[in-house]
Symmetry: C2
Subunit: 246 residues, 2 copies
């Protein structure tokens, strides 16, 4: 892990850009983090639109997370941002856009082509980032995962024992294989659902919530579309992490 | 409104039993309530099992509500507790028990016979209690309604303009006429759903949530049966009321 820049934000939060192998990322640490009192870590997931484009929202989430005493970190997804293009992924995305614009149903084959390679390639990268981040002084466990592509969250929650709790954004573009993996997830989950999400099928999202194997899982459904999550849900997610990471 | 007893609880909360006409009730007021700073009021709904039997849970809810600076009040439902028996209601309840024990579906006719008379008779009583309670010094609006028989909550939220927000417990034994009324409810709602509620059909409860006309409505679904609502949901409901009643 190689740090490429560092700056201080309001509230004593330090933001550092890093590169791990070919993967760029950002780490935010709260002023309270120290070697004797390492901060728990929350991984910030995001849609595959590039870290640069997602930065304002990620930095806002990181500021809230840091104000609660956690470190926060994120990495660029494969094929996004400054990373090399991934023609197969671009192709699947173009097909998805086409199907949605035409109002056609999105077939299982397309969902698989869009999501499975992203999960296969990115989850090991998140785990490598976790190795490097937890080796830093002032950062400790337990680890939470929050948001982003829900299929990545499912796989991470399943295979990465250091993930102790996850906040997931319910989606319906989830490959059947990942729904099956969801049945074996056991960590506490806090799942957000936008009731009128234009890009997600509500029943499929409810079925996915039902599928999760976790004994402790809560669904918070709110009115409105994909980007309309009410502000108070940020606080609710923070209280969920406080119950499970502190 | 005639007070029949008064006692002080921990934290300076005053608990007073009252009778309004033939309807007994309980009022809890926080120490902060005064003529110059009247406390907002939360009406505590409950299942028709009698105030005496429900008292421990109601008093616990009232203590939390009072700690947040609200007054809390509840009244006995018709046919319950020390009020005169209501043979038609007892009959419908016996039929419901029989159907549930036999694992038979609960027909619409039975749901109507069980719920509609209770709504028709109790809602005017809650409104009369509201008149009397809001006339007391130290108690003011806005008013919240919390819990109990969801059909009573639906009707109250629809017809009583002083109700500014409601926390409802999602049920499926809701007459079709009340589902239609739910479409015209507009106050902010916070709806609790127990995912594996043995007495409620999950899909019907989700359909009822969908039906509510309120622009601001949130569903919190948790694992477990009817009485398994996690403790943290009490805090979530308190924050909902804080957003809308303060």
């Amino acid at each position: 892990m190689h740090f490429t820049s560092e700056r201080s934000l309001d509230g004593g939060v330090v933001e550092r850009a890093f590169v791990l192998g070919e993967v760029p990322g950002i780490l935010w640490t709260p002023p309270s983090a120290s070697v004797s009192a390492p901060a728990p870590l929350i991984l910030l997931g995001h849609p595959p639109l590039g870290l640069r484009r997602m930065y304002p929202r990620l930095a806002e989430r990181a500021r809230h997370v840091a104000a609660d005493g956690y470190a926060a970190a994120t990495i660029e997804l494969p094929g996004s941002g400054d990373r090399p293009r991934w023609p197969a992924l671009d192709q699947a995305r173009a097909e998805l856009r086409g199907a949605m614009e035409a109002g056609e149903p999105v077939g299982e084959g397309l969902v698989d082509a869009l999501v499975l390679p992203l999960v296969e390639k990115s989850v090991p990268e998140w785990r490598a980032a976790l190795d490097a981040l937890l080796a830093l002084p002032g950062i400790g466990g337990p680890v939470g995962y929050s948001g982003g592509v829900i299929s990545i969250g499912i796989r991470l929650a399943l295979v990465e024992p250091r993930i102790a709790a996850a906040v997931l954004f319910a989606g319906s573009l989830v490959p059947a294989a990942l729904v099956e993996e969801a049945r074996r997830v056991t960590v506490p989950l806090h799942v957000l659902l936008q009731w009128d999400d234009e890009g997600n099928d509500r029943q499929a999202a409810l079925d996915l919530f039902d599928a999760f194997g976790s004994e402790q899982k809560t669904l918070h459904a709110n009115m409105g579309g994909h980007t309309g999550v009410p502000q108070f849900e940020g606080e609710a997610a923070a209280r969920f992490f406080a119950r499970h990471l502190k």
